[in-house]
Assembly symmetry: D4
Homo-oligomer: 151 residues x 8
């Protein structure tokens, strides 16, 4: 069985690459999915395809609708959802994805520095693991999918 892992949250650091490279190096039987991480494309997709609305609120609304076609489908199909909260930005969409995963009963792993522990306590309580580094996420995936604790 190939496990499908949805990587949600922060798009401005290289954490997804670190997770994916490590998982590939370890030969894990996993497939990664996630939102579109091209920030400009993600912001523009609605207006670019469906036309520019007169007001910025509706521009965001259009784009968020198009992105949701992707994200809702992939979150629903994921075996595990990993949510990364970075040091910058409010990343409410990351917490929103975590709420969806929790309500669906999909195992959730959060990934964030300790400085956010208190602010994220409700989200972390719904998670089955709280990691600090991308490499820990890969170690969890190795153990979960192969039963091996790794070196």
């Amino acid at each position: 069985m190939t496990w499908t892992i949805y990587l949600s949250g922060e798009i401005h650091t290289d954490w997804r690459q670190r997770v994916e490279q490590d998982a590939t190096a370890a030969g894990l039987d996993v497939a990664f999915t996630g939102p579109v991480t091209d920030h400009a494309a993600s912001d523009d997709c609605g207006a670019a395809i469906l036309g520019e609305p007169a007001e910025p609120f509706w521009r965001d609304h259009l784009g968020a609708g198009v992105n949701a076609i992707r994200t809702r489908t992939l979150i629903e199909q994921a075996d595990v959802v990993v949510v990364r909260f970075g040091e910058q930005y409010r990343q409410w969409n990351a917490a929103f994805d975590a709420g969806i995963a929790s309500a669906l009963g999909t195992p959730l792993i959060t990934l964030h520095p300790t400085e956010h522990d208190h602010a994220l306590k409700e989200v972390d309580r719904a998670a089955l693991a709280v990691a600090r580094e991308p490499e820990q996420v890969v170690s969890i995936l190795r153990y979960v999918t192969s039963g091996k604790l790794g070196s």
Copy 2:
């Protein structure tokens, strides 16, 4: 992952072909499903297979039952449902399909000219995108499945 896209609604124009050809040309990893679009077959299937009833109401009822075996199954298995409302006919079955998709939580894209905007506002509100042309549907599918906004 191959995305399964159900194309519901209007059967008297070439919109399905335009969507499918464009998607093929763009090399999208999608599979299209939909109702039987041979109008005569769709109307006759019940009576042709199960026997002619005495009254037209039950003739329609027989045919609608047989068609529903197909449509309910395929809508339930779709990742995305696209519903086309054309310029003619009342197309209540298109709106009915949209209601099913909405209740199932399946992402919905509507496709119709602006003249129907007011009459379709409840359906459009449940959709994640409202397109005007089949090509926009394909642009959405390209972005959603590949993360590329296209040219």
Copy 3:
């Protein structure tokens, strides 16, 4: 047990009153719910409360969102959904509501003149009864809730 009956669809004739008066006269243990039937209020509610957007599409979108808070909640709580298709207008929202009821597994009664039988065959196939007059709906409700066929 008080049965909750959601009356969906056409808002320009007196069919809801006829159903409700008949049911009251018959002493049925039913409570009726439905959408807001004040057409102007229904169209304006979004913009009136949340502010006028620059474009009519978004005006409808705002209003449809506010109305959906009511209609989705009440449809989900209904024991039976009755959907009326009148002689005028396209009434896609009526068919949309029927699709939701069908997907939820809530018993559905349609109410429409025979001239729409062919166009409504998919919706009617999902219904447990197709009535022509409001009084028939009440007869069904009397039988269903009390076991009496009535005079």
Copy 4:
């Protein structure tokens, strides 16, 4: 029918009181629920009842568990969930609650200033209304529960 409205999010301003007072003044048939808004009690409840753990991470974990018994139950029972994002704090738990409401299919109203529009676009897209002031939330509830647009 009494509508149950869950008020999620920001606990440092008087927005809940404004909503509740306005709703009472308007005579709405609604009941409000929400998280414990006594910040100290909310932070301490786990350790105070179950004992102080050695590490702050687990102190938060204990408290978040006890609070979740309340919040998950009440969110699941709500007819409508209102989520307030204030001007301060990251309020990831508010977005988390919105994700749960969205996955449950419960109608969602967000309440936040326009400055957060872009950051909240994914959450707002899942909402049926985006309000700026508590009084607008009450206007929506009045319309939704009574069909009246109010003065």
Copy 5:
């Protein structure tokens, strides 16, 4: 808590009265629901209300639709479903109701003479109790609702 008990199946003997009288005599906190047991009304309800169709198959279809509005709603709301298989008739609708209860996860009690044991083994396997006499059903309900085994 008042327990709601749906009594499905055979309508030609007095088993429902025996269950209801015994339960009343024992002062149980239960409410009984069930199909319409007036055989003629049950057969005629569709045609009487909606009009006589030309063919007997559709006459039955009409009636079964109207009855299903009642039975599906009440079975779905029941805490316990009791299904009686009598000595006569094929009573496929009783087994059909048992299948629905089983799929819904609603506790099922069957009631039938031993001579049907082999033919009913699949249905009995899905039941939590197989009774032979109506009085045993009441003894089960007394125990289940009050914890008393009774005299």
Copy 6:
């Protein structure tokens, strides 16, 4: 897409072979599943594997449990459930399977002679088609899976 069709009910005639041969001859993209049709094995499986109980009731119970592991799994995975009621036997398990399919929302086709129409009216009402001959079932499957009405 290969459609999975569960063939439930009567095991003493060759209807399954007729369905399967016809479907193969027509080149349909379907896979058939069903209960174990070796009557002796089906009756004996529980006692043969798990040991003979002292009483025949529990012998049936053991066997029905083992068979249910197969039937519940396959019914739940089926795209369409076909239920055959033959001229002999009571076949309550066929009606029980139909109830499960109905509650799961899986499209249902019944197959039986007209003489059972009245007794099966509740089951037929839940079906999307009522066939008389196995060949009609195949014609429905051809139409449903390929959109062709056949010759």
Copy 7:
């Protein structure tokens, strides 16, 4: 709102009374449910009502079926499930109930001495609180239902 709390597990100590008395003394708006705690009645109910089977395995099976009518219904209706693991007996049914509550998404509180921590780690991980004394359970219920941390 009255919260319904199911008290599962150990029946040989007075922990239920301690929870109920404390909750009454504190004036909490809660209603307690649970299995039948009369050990003899619980063991005998099946055979006493339905007849003595020849083998002890089936005697237990009969009794467990009758008890399950009560326990499954009440667990499903509970807002919170509390599961007590005592110092004696294996209490697999307590862990079984915890598994059901977890799968249903119902908030779970476990109650057991520290000596069982390692053996119960999987169950505790699914719980939102792990209490050691009945009084802690009441403190949690007070906080959860009233928002007060108590003295």
Copy 8:
């Protein structure tokens, strides 16, 4: 169709190997899944990957969380769940898994010596078969997947 069988419970005897070898020898079309059976790895996985907490309770909590990512996912994907209760240890997690399978409606087979019959009666009641030896489990799987009773 390849059946997926989750093997839950006891990890200190060779029952899983006996099941798997027998199934392989019999050429069954099954795939086995289960928890990590390396006891040390299972106990250490949380602390080894995520860091040692100060208290043993949280060490177990960390490990149970990581293991649950695997077990919840695999139990949910299983067609059949087999739960083994051995002669030693309390094995509450086995009963917990059985509760989850039961609530999910997944067919359950228990495997344990007769000495535990009384203590396991609630779990066994929810099972579709109670086996004593691993070879019986394989015989059930052969029958269920192939319809053959075996030699």
